[in-house]
Symmetry: C2
Subunit: 394 residues, 2 copies
Amino acid sequence: MIADKMVSFVKNGSAIRAMFEEGKRLASLYGAENVYDFSLGNPNVPAPAEVETAIKEILEEEDSTYVHGYMSNSGYEDVRKVIAQSLNKRFGTAFTENNIIMTVGAAGGLNVILKTLLNPGDEVLTFAPYFGEYRAYVGNYDGVLVVVSPNTKDFQPNLAEFEEKITKNTKAVIVNTPNNPTGVVYSEDTIKRLAAILEKKQQEFGTDIYLISDEPYRELVYDGVEVPYLTKYYNNTIVGYSFSKSLSLPGERIGYLVIPNEVADFEDVLAAANVATRILGFVNAPSLQQRVVAKCIDAKCNVAAYNRNRELLYNSLVSYGYECIKPEGAFYLFVKSPTADEKIFCEAAKKHNILIVGGSSFACPGYVRIAYCVGYDTIVKALPGFEALIKEFQ
Amino acid sequence: MIADKMVSFVKNGSAIRAMFEEGKRLASLYGAENVYDFSLGNPNVPAPAEVETAIKEILEEEDSTYVHGYMSNSGYEDVRKVIAQSLNKRFGTAFTENNIIMTVGAAGGLNVILKTLLNPGDEVLTFAPYFGEYRAYVGNYDGVLVVVSPNTKDFQPNLAEFEEKITKNTKAVIVNTPNNPTGVVYSEDTIKRLAAILEKKQQEFGTDIYLISDEPYRELVYDGVEVPYLTKYYNNTIVGYSFSKSLSLPGERIGYLVIPNEVADFEDVLAAANVATRILGFVNAPSLQQRVVAKCIDAKCNVAAYNRNRELLYNSLVSYGYECIKPEGAFYLFVKSPTADEKIFCEAAKKHNILIVGGSSFACPGYVRIAYCVGYDTIVKALPGFEALIKEFQ
C-alpha cells in the first residue's frame, strides 16, 4: 500500500546506509574497536572548540524565544549577512543576505532548488561517479537524471560527452567538487571549459541551464589546492553548501544555498526557493545551529587529521598493489576493485571486518569507496586486512 | 524559468508568512512594542529551563562526533526508546523504538508520511478550517486534497459530509486536534464515530485508509480537557508530533512520527518512511535536539501563560461584541469577521497595528485567526484597538 515510487527504494535501499547499519551490527558482535567501518562520510574529527563555545554563549546571551523560535523561512537575516560577507572576503564575490537561504544541510538545499526549478521530464545532468542520492532528489520532482559516464583515467569530468548530452530539455547540471566519491577537485581550466559549453548550449537552445554546485567538501582540500568558486565563471550558478564536514556537524543538518543576482529569473528563483523551503516541510534550517555557524564562520576543522589519514591509507594501499588516484579533497579514496565485480570484493572485505561501499552506488562499478574520516588507529589496524584482501584476488 | 507548480505559490505566497514579514516591517517603523502581531504560531513562552540544562549537560557528557554526527535515518535509538516509553506511560500504548521515526518537525513528518503513501491522484481528506500548508504537502506528491466543509456552529468535524466524500481513491485523512486555527479539541465520541466511518469505508472499498493525526498542539489544552490518543481507536493511525509548541522549539525543527505495528503493511510503511526521510533531504532530525527532547520528555512549557492570554482575549473580544467559540486547546482564537469579507477586516485591523490572518488561509472565509502566543501586555495594549475596530463595522 506504499507509493509505487517508494517500492524500489525499499527493495534496494541505500548501500551506504545498509553498510552503516551492518557496521553497527558487527560492532555489537565483535566490539566497535574490531570493526573497520569505512562506509559512511561521518566525520570522526570533532567539531572545532568554537562550536561548543558558541552554543554556550548563545544560550547565555540570547533570548530563548529568539534562539529557538521561527524566523523568516530563508533564515536569520544577520546569519545570512555573516555568510555573504565571508564569501565576499574569501572569493571576491558581492553577495548580500538576499542571496543566501539557510537550508537543512546540502541535501535539503538540493531538494529546495530542484523543487524550485524542475518540471516533470526536465533533464538534470551529472558526472559519474556521483553521489547516488542525486537520482532520488531529481526523481522527487519527476526530473530525469542524465549521467555522463566516468572518465576512469583521472576522474575529471568527461566534457566531450557532457556537451553531447545537453539537450533543449536540460534544466540543470549538478557538479560536486571536491568530489564524493573520488576526492578529485575540478581545476579552474576544467570549470572554464564547462562554463563555455554551458554558455554555448544556452545560446544554441535559447534556454537557461542552471549549474548547481554541491559543495559540502569545499574546505577539505590538501596540498594547497584551490577550489574555484563557480559563481565567478558562469552566471547561472547556484551553490549548495553544508557545514556537515567543515564544522563536523552532519547530524545537525545545517547549510545554505547561494542564489546570485546574476541567475536567470533571480527574483522568481529566490521567492520559489523560499516557498520550497517551507512547503517541503523544512520550514527553516534549525535555528540554534544557524546562530552557531554564524559565530563559527572562520572556525576550521582538523583537516590535518584527514590529511594524515589520506597519506597513510593511500600510500599503504598503493604499496599493496591497489590502483587508486590520489585525492586532493574530501575524505574518500576511490579504489579500483581487484576483481571486476566489486560486490564480491566488498563481501570479501567484510570477512576482515572492513566495511566499504561498492562503486555501483555511484554509477561506477568496478571501484569501491573508502571513507577515511575515521580514527588513524582504525586505518592502522585495518591495513593488514587490506593487504591480505588483495592477495585473495591475485 | 521556475517550475510551473511553484508559480502560483510565488504569486500567492502564504498569507500567514506575509503577515509575519509585515509585522517585522511595521515593528521597524513603529517599534516592536507598538505592533500587535497575532499572525504566527510562534510561541512567546520561553523553552522550559530543562532545555538549556539539557543542552549544557549533553555538551559536557557526550562526545562531539556522537552529538553532532550522523545516526540511523530514523534517529537515535535511545531517543526513540524514551519517546516510546513516555507514550506508553501516558496513553497505555505498547510502542517500541521501532515505531518511532524522528522528524524535522511535524511539517517534515507529514511530508515523509505523504511521500511514503501517496500515488499521483490519491485523495487525502481533511476538515475545514485546516492548516493551509496541508494543500501544499499533499500536492508535493501529486495527491488531491479533498476538503470537508466547515461546521461553523462548533467547529467539530462534519462527519456526515466526511462519510460522503470518502471514495475508493481515499488514501489518507488528516486530522488536527487540538485544532489550528480553531482551538477545538475532538471529543472521544467524535473520534469513535470517525473511526467507525473509516472502518466501514475500508470494508466497503476493500482499501486501507490511513488516519494521519497531526498533533503539534497536544500538550496545549485548558480546563482539564482530554485529547484522545488516536492509535487506540483506529488501527491505521499514524501520528505526527512536534516539540515546537510543547517545548517552545519551533525554529529547531524537531518532532517524530509514530507508526504502530497495527498499521496496514507496517514493515513497508516503516521502511519507506525511513527512506523518505533520507531522500527528501532531511536525512535525519537535527541531532542535538533529538538528544535534548529525550532529556526533556517530561518537561512542560508554561501552559498557564497561554491560558491567561486565552481568558483575557476571549472574554474581552466577546464583551466587545465579537462572535467566537471558546477554544479548549492550542493558542488560537477563530473569530467571526464583523464583515463578510474578512480581508477587509484584516486590513482595517492593520491600521490599529493589529496583525491577524484571514480565515481564507484555512479554507474558512468570513473568519480570522488570532494567535495569542504573545505577551500578556501585547494583548492588554491591543484590546482598545480591537474594541475600536468592531465599532467601525457596526
